[in-house]
Amino acid sequence: MATDTVPLFAQPNTVRPAADAAGMRACCLAACAAGSRATVVRLGCDDSDACRLRALGLNEGTTVAVVDDRHGTLLDVRGTRLALGTALTERITVQPHV
């Protein structure tokens, strides 16, 4: 996946601009901690689950906020609260915001 590549000339000392999404590696949604925000890149789950998630407003390109990560992941999706099991969040690729 293209978003998985590490920048070749990463300079550890420079402060990344906040909007520079390419500076953060894409990861799975399950890895996002409470309080963080991320943009959905890919829904790698079953087609039927993906279809349901998209209807619920969690489609590719949506920015979500992780509200709680104690029981699966509780997300803020378009103003609604959506709880997803780990089996799902592990297969959703997101681009975390800095």
């Binding site: 039927s48 279809c51 998630l53 209807a55 949506t62 509780l74 609260r81 959506l82 709880a83 099991g85």
Partner: protein, 721 residues
């Protein structure tokens, strides 16, 4: 017929399009779950369908009607909630079938009212955008306008109406606001030009799906319908596209060639269109509507404190059942006794008096006195359902449920089982995976329902001391809590067994929407509880009354000639044993003797297979017939005093515990069996599952009661009676 579309819109007959709009006679309410469709339905029709603050309260279609301004009767259909026209669990399919003109009875709406939650407008507009393309007249009810206003969300209604191309009416269903404008908008909607798609496909996408749309039109769909259906077919699971398999696959290939991911096209296009509308029509909230809920969830969903709150809530309910209900129950018992005394005093001794006093009053009366417990239980359940806690409980339980092989969502039907197994089994319709749904159906009756409450309360009240532990919790309410926990744990264990054997399948991941917390409305609560109490009394007045009379007759005939040599008490006991009921009891006795039960308990259990409360009424009748003439002592007193031939009490603690455990597990409810047959697939398949359910629960009940009795005997140092 291969070419007939199976999973799509049914073609409209070409001659059906009327040119002069007739006023609408049929209105369907659709929308996302938990938006207030049923609340609106109740407000429109004056009916009292169940409402609750979680997704999936309504799981079947319900029809009602209202009078329009010109006196015409308009039929209204309340439907289960659905997030889109593409996903389908059994409850959602009911809504889709009506919208897509596929419902079995041909119920086609003249106007579709999409009930939208104004506080979650963006997500709700997804379904709206799909419904607009059905070609039916649409009205959008912008419900929960009060909640939106409270959170500072401003929605420009005329602008929204302009953007969607259909009338938009703000409503507050809970307060009945906006109903008149809504009715007018429904009448007007048929005269407006039909709504349709308000966005265009990008050229590459349009090219790729054109052949599919064409094929759909060849099968009789209109152009608009074909466009909607084409997007739907692309977004669903590739294995479910049915008759259009080939065309869909070609469209997918064409899209991939154009560098588009077929599965995500529909959602991307619709949400892109929606974003524009939201930017134009909604001035965003100053206070996010979830702030308070999030703060509460911070505590309620805590890893340690959360489950403790859950248990504490349950303990509180059971404490309430004993401490608050007791004075009311005592008053009712006194009333029943009073009625018995009056009848005894006014009627001459004889069969009629015995029928009324020992059969009807002792039987029905012994059940009716539990009305306060029923009212309290349903008040507590109502508060849980209306506050929004149900979804949190499901989330807390997800970890446990996953180990069982189900996901947290299945816990909501199980929790509903505390009220009654029948609606709980219906509620499994929200579970999409057939195997998970069946596994949940099979175990729901293990959750202790309200019909067990009279049995539990009678036995616990009579045989468990009312000792206070830790100063505030009574041993009685703890025993009751233990019974409910026992049933719940057994349900989880049984589900685990089913999911590993007959219903083997992967654990589906959980997707669950958490609604914002709400204050339960006291008025709505009162209505629900009153409804439940009426139902309870009606059962007492019908099933239990009829059975009480039958049992009284069985306990009275055939008669034994009076033997003057015997004492009154011995004579009555012998007569009871000589009666038909006594003979049946003797026949049953060997089956229940290992559990520590005598024949009277055996008969009561047998009778309670019709309905669990009948156990209590049968006890009332047996001890009424067998007891002193005109004696209307409290049933608990009678039970405590009952002795075997050798003078030992019939109801020792081991016997009482064994009976309690038996009732936790046994499936004794005709309605549950009937509903399992229907929901598990109907016909022979349904009957097989129902038989299995009945069988395994009976075996479990017998085995657990046997073990309880033996262990309790050993612990209490008693001997085998």
């Amino acid at each position: 017929m291969n070419s007939v579309p199976t999973s799509s819109l049914t073609p409209r007959s070409p001659s059906a399009a009327p040119t002069i709009p007739v006023p609408p006679a049929r209105v369907a309410l659709v929308g996302n779950p938990n938006t207030g469709k049923t609340t609106l339905f109740n407000a429109l029709t004056g009916l009292r369908q169940r409402v609750g603050n979680f997704a999936g309260v309504t799981v079947e279609r319900v029809e009602g009607s209202y009078r329009a301004a010109d006196g015409r009767s308009v039929a209204v259909l309340d439907l289960p909630g659905t997030y889109s026209l593409a996903t389908a669990s059994p409850d959602e399919r009911i809504a889709h079938d009506v919208l897509m003109r596929r419902s079995g009875d041909g119920w086609i709406p003249d106007v579709v009212v999409v009930v939208v939650d104004a506080t979650h407008l963006e997500r709700n507009l997804f379904l709206v955008s799909q419904v607009l393309e059905l070609g039916l007249p649409v009205v959008v009810a912008l419900n929960q306008a009060d909640a939106a206003e409270r959170s500072g969300t401003r929605i420009d209604v005329p602008e929204l109406s302009f953007a969607l191309g259909v009338p938009v009416v703000p409503t507050v269903a809970t307060r009945g606001e906006g109903l008149e404008p809504l009715r007018r908008a429904i009448d007007d909607a048929v005269r407006l030009p039909p709504p349709g798609r308000r966005f265009a496909l990008p050229a590459a996408v349009a090219m790729a799906v054109a052949p599919l749309e064409l094929q759909l039109q060849e099968h009789g769909l209109s152009r608009a319908e074909a466009q909607l259906e084409a997007l739907r077919l692309l977004s669903i699971d590739a294995t479910e596209t049915g008759a259009y398999d080939g065309a869909v696959e070609r469209a997918r290939d064409a899209l991939r060639a154009a560098n588009e991911e077929p599965g995500q096209i529909e959602a991307s296009l619709r949400y892109a269109w929606i974003s524009q509308i939201v930017t134009r029509c909604v001035s965003s909230a100053e206070r996010p509507s979830h702030a308070t809920s999030d703060r509460i969830d911070g505590v309620v969903l805590h890893r340690v404190i959360g489950p403790m709150i859950f248990l504490a809530l349950m303990a509180l309910v059971f404490q309430a059942l004993f401490t608050w209900a007791t004075p009311l129950q005592d008053a009712l018992e006194a009333l029943v006794a009073r009625v018995g005394d009056v009848v005894t005093a006014t009627l001459p001794a004889g069969d009629l008096r015995s029928l009324l006093v020992d059969g009807v009053i002792a039987g029905v009366g012994s059940v009716v006195v539990f009305l306060p417990q029923i009212a309290i239980l349903f008040t507590c359940i109502g508060v849980l359902e209306d506050s929004g806690y149900m979804a949190r409980a499901a989330l807390l339980m997800d970890r446990v449920m996953r180990r069982v092989g189900l996901h947290g969502r299945s816990f909501i039907p199980m929790l509903s089982g505390y009220a009654c197994a029948v609606p709980a089994i219906m509620a499994t319709r929200t579970i999409g995976e057939p195997k998970d749904r069946l596994a949940t159906i099979m175990v729901v009756p293990l959750m202790s329902c309200s019909a067990r409450l009279p049995v539990y309360t009678l036995l616990i009240g009579a045989f468990i001391p009312a000792t206070m532990l830790f100063g505030s919790v009574s041993l009685q309410s703890l025993t009751l809590l233990a019974m409910y926990l026992l049933g719940t744990l057994a349900a989880l264990a049984a589900a685990a067994v089913f999911k590993r054997t007959l219903l083997k399948g992967p654990v589906r991941p959980m997707i669950l929407e958490l609604p914002p917390y709400r204050w339960p409305s006291p008025r709505a609560l009162l209505v629900t509880v009153a409804q439940r109490c009426r139902l309870f009394l009606r059962r007492a007045g019908t099933v239990i009354l009829a059975l009480s009379i039958v049992l009284w007759a069985l306990a009275t005939w055939p008669r034994l000639p009076v033997d003057p040599a015997r004492s009154d008490a011995a004579q009555r006991e012998l007569a009871l044993e000589h009666s038909a009921l006594g003979r049946i009891g003797r026949a049953i006795e060997p089956a229940v003797a290992p559990l520590g039960f005598d024949w009277k308990i055996g008969v009561s259990i047998a009778a309670s297979f019709a309905a669990r409360e009948v156990f209590v009424s049968t006890m009332g009748t047996i001890y009424g017939v067998g007891g002193d003439d005109g004696d209307t002592a409290k049933l608990t007193t009678v039970l405590r005093a009952e002795r075997r031939a050798d003078g030992t009490p019939v109801y020792s603690l081991p016997v009482a515990l064994s009976l309690l455990v038996f009732y936790v597990f046994a499936l004794m409810c005709m309605s549950t069996i009937a509903i399992t047959v229907r929901e598990a697939g109907g016909g022979a398949v349904g009957w097989r599952w129902a038989a299995l359910q009945f069988g395994y629960m009976l075996a479990l009940a017998w085995g657990a009661a046997f073990v309880t009795y033996r262990v309790a005997m050993v612990l209490s140092g008693g001997t085998n009676a």
